[in-house]
Amino acid sequence: MTMEPGPKIEVSHEGAVTVVELLDEEILEEGTINTIADSLFAVVADDPKIKLLLSFERVRHLSSSALGTLIRLNKRVEENNGILKICHLRKSLLAIFKITKLNRLFDIYDDKAAALSNFTD
């Protein structure tokens, strides 16, 4: 039986901003979502007033449960006076944010450069 590698995030820093690349193409199933959630909340716990940029460049699918995790993460970041932004949503995923009106809740940018230039001190 082949063991599939677990879902992953990749964390880097651009100045004061923590950039998290979501590495899974499909963020649909509960197990995947829970593992990614644990990783993201751990990143935020390490730096409560975090300036966090989530990159969705590799993500092709996400479910409403994944959106729920993003909302909870955003709430946690805001409670700690941090900032969360999102970038590199492909057109099909941006449509999901628009249908659910979550484009009003999240700061969404086309790419990393645009997002990074909009983090204020």
């Binding site: 649909l28 479910s63 409403s64 659910t100």
Partner: protein, 140 residues
């Protein structure tokens, strides 16, 4: 026009089994020439419908089953998903796009299915969902 024959699959309330069923239906859709946008819509809606059946319908009880009846042809994908739960009233699900609900982490699955499928309906009890996707490019 001959009546369509539905395929029937029964799965336990386990995500891995739901994923396998989803993959089979998606593969059938690709075989019948559905485009990538239709496949995206189908995959999202199947995930939402099966997740709801497992989590809300069957309360994640692995001893409770989900029955999936479906057919796929060049023009239409027609799917019924039945859980063993007591059902619910979809009209009573709050609108997740209102200001007061926007930050709720739940309640977007039905909205998304309605946005991406041509038909989403429930039986009177609310434990069977019927979703239909028409082929947006049947002549391709």
């Amino acid at each position: 026009m001959p009546a369509q024959t539905y395929h029937e699959i029964e799965i336990s309330s386990i995500c891995a089994q739901a994923k396998k069923a989803e993959d089979g239906i998606i593969a059938a859709a690709r075989t019948h020439g559905y485009g990538e946008e239709d496949i995206f819509a189908l995959q999202l809606s199947l995930e939402e419908a099966l997740s709801n059946a497992i989590r809300h319908g069957n309360k994640q009880d692995p001893d409770k089953s989900i029955t999936i009846r479906y057919y796929v042809n060049r023009d239409r994908i027609d799917i019924y998903i039945a859980d063993e739960g007591t059902g619910f009233n979809p009209i009573k699900v709050p609108d997740p796009t209102t200001a007061e609900n926007l930050e709720s982490p739940h309640g977007r699955g039905i909205l998304l299915m309605r946005a991406y499928m041509n038909l989403v309906e429930y039986n009177d009890t609310g434990n069977v969902i019927h979703i239909v996707k028409l082929n947006d490019e049947p002549d391709k």
